[in-house]
Symmetry: C2
């Protein structure tokens, strides 16, 4: 399966079982900086490197620690310095092998090395496959907050091998499933239908996932292509994320992103229902029931409120909310009153306690 992301310049996303073994055929450059983390490198770096070298590529492997702490200025500087030491020039390429953290770090390395070199992404987590693989966002964290430093840097190609999901822990799979579900809500009811089948997790074999990932990538690719630099409708992808970011900040990221977004999706569904839009709260409740997110350790709306207005995507102090008029019809609203938020929060507390 090959999809085209129509940004500037456009690039292909390949979703193919076993593609990890054939990476050399997707990478044009001869010199490859392969960036991975300890966990993924142990599982896949050996065969990826061997495959590339077998096809005549010159490969250097850079392994960072697993986890968010590798999205730091220190890791960024360390990888760059190693690449200089190994002699990479502007004709080299960076290949990210791993989840979203590796992709974000490696992407910013590619964007910045000698002012930008070729970048390829092999996402190995479901979240990275359906989310980070499209959009061109790269970046690292500062002690003050996440993703505060980075660049928009489009990959030359994204190569997704659904077989890597076999080694993904179930908890990580569920995290990715939240964004997949979100893309269904935004634009593709077929994704919802597949995921709402009783045996979804059991039957989530590579074939099913190839289909679902392809549909999800197509949804995001269409939205991003229409709004490359995040000026307008790309904000739709923020469905569920306004509350999620507030919950993540309040809990200092002890609540996972996927869980936070799931709560955010239910919260947005309630706001929509209150406005007289289609009521999808029951559907979201069932999804949360499947997901089993970690409990909310926050009761007070007053404590949450300050975090709601700090979102980096707010424009000049205006808080914007993405709500669904119905499945597939997102809208951007900036006139949501405090009372509406408070009511929806009350609802969320009641149904999740």
């Amino acid at each position: 399966m090959r999809l085209e992301v129509a940004v500037t310049p456009p690039y292909p996303v390949f979703i193919e079982k076993g593609s990890l073994e054939r990476l050399a055929s997707y990478v044009a450059e001869t010199a490859v900086a392969l960036i991975s983390d300890e966990h993924v490198a142990a599982l896949y770096a050996g065969r990826v490197q061997a495959g590339l070298e077998h096809s005549g590529k010159w490969v250097k492997l850079y392994v960072v620690a697993t986890g968010e702490k590798s999205k730091s200025l220190d890791s960024f500087g360390s990888v760059l310095r190693q690449m200089v030491g190994d002699g990479f020039d502007r004709q080299g390429a960076v290949l990210a092998l791993g989840g979203g953290i590796v992709g974000d770090l490696a992407g910013f390395v590619a964007a910045s090395y000698m002012r930008g070199i070729a970048f390829y992404q092999c996402p190995t987590s479901l979240l990275a496959m359906v989310d980070a693989s499209v959009g061109g966002k790269t970046g690292i964290n500062l002690p003050e907050g996440k993703n505060l430093v980075g660049a928009f840097w489009q990959p030359r190609a994204v190569i997704i091998d659904p077989k890597t999901l076999d080694t993904l822990p179930p908890q990580e799979f569920r995290q990715g499933a939240v964004e997949l579900y979100k893309h269904g809500l935004l634009a593709d009811p077929e994704i919802l239908a597949r995921m709402e089948k009783r045996d979804f997790l059991k039957s989530a074999a590579a074939e099913v996932m190839t289909e679902l990932i392809s549909r999800s990538v197509a949804v995001k690719a269409k939205i991003v292509a229409a709004d490359e630099r995040e000026q307008g409708q790309r904000a739709f992808l923020n469905l569920g994320h306004s509350l999620a970011h507030a919950l993540e900040s309040y809990t200092e990221h002890t609540l996972s992103h996927g869980d936070a977004v799931a709560y955010g999706l239910l919260f947005a569904a309630k706001l929509a229902a209150q406005r007289g839009f289609a009521d999808e709260t029951k559907r979201l409740l069932r999804f949360l029931d499947w997901l089993q997110p970690a409990p909310l350790n926050l009761r007070s709306f007053e404590l949450l409120k300050p975090y709601l207005s700090r979102d980096k995507k707010n424009q000049a102090g205006t808080q914007r909310w993405v709500l669904l008029e119905s499945i597939g019809r997102p809208r951007l609203l900036s006139d949501i009153a405090d009372d509406e938020l408070k009511n929806a929060w009350q609802y969320l507390l009641e149904v999740t306690k």
Copy 2:
């Protein structure tokens, strides 16, 4: 004087006496991160900040140490973290006030802060006015080498106040004059004619300089606009720089960039003459006589040679040289033999000893 640089997106360069006092009229954004170094900040930051604030802007001043050491990952991270602490969001702007070092650092900060915010440049050195103000190059150094990390990030506007040259040390003025002269060689004999007048330095009042800077910016803007990402004819700007980079590397940057380029221009003129192109060596000798570069502390061509092939702009091992067929007619050659280089080097040693 207003020039347009036709890159994507295009931006204006203003060259106007007293423009530093009227900066607010060029900056659209309300929140401004003013980045400068200790030396320039002491001279100009007070009145720049006051002028911006007087027009209702919200300004925070970030002062880095004067000198190359501020083009580091540490300074980069430090400025970014301070900006987060002060609450800058994506609607803010970065304004660089200073020479090339400040511009390179501030530009990379602007390119990376929350994946890129508006950038304005007020170059206060002649070198920054005629060179760094056009091209979109930003970046910092690694311990392994200069400008190894950065981004192409175009400013929204460049505002040049030739009056700031009044406070520029004569030695710094001469450094900038080398790139000015280079632009004359590449495309504008009128620049050469003005600079070759006996009283050039004495009469280098703001009026003369406004004219010369404008002509020089126009030369570079035209070349850069035709080749934004440095794929082709932008290499012409490298006239004199292949030898210069080698000399700088060999001397570990104790030889200044301007002096190194001046030697490089004479070297390239000799290579051109050897090829049967127009012989401009006498003209370059007079220019070096005016410039009085620091002496060359390197005699052996064999010692220099390895440094000649390490230039980051070389493509896949091929060494490319910019030579002038005649004034205004640069050519790119990749078939220069070692003997030609050796002969030109012998010549350089003889005429400069």
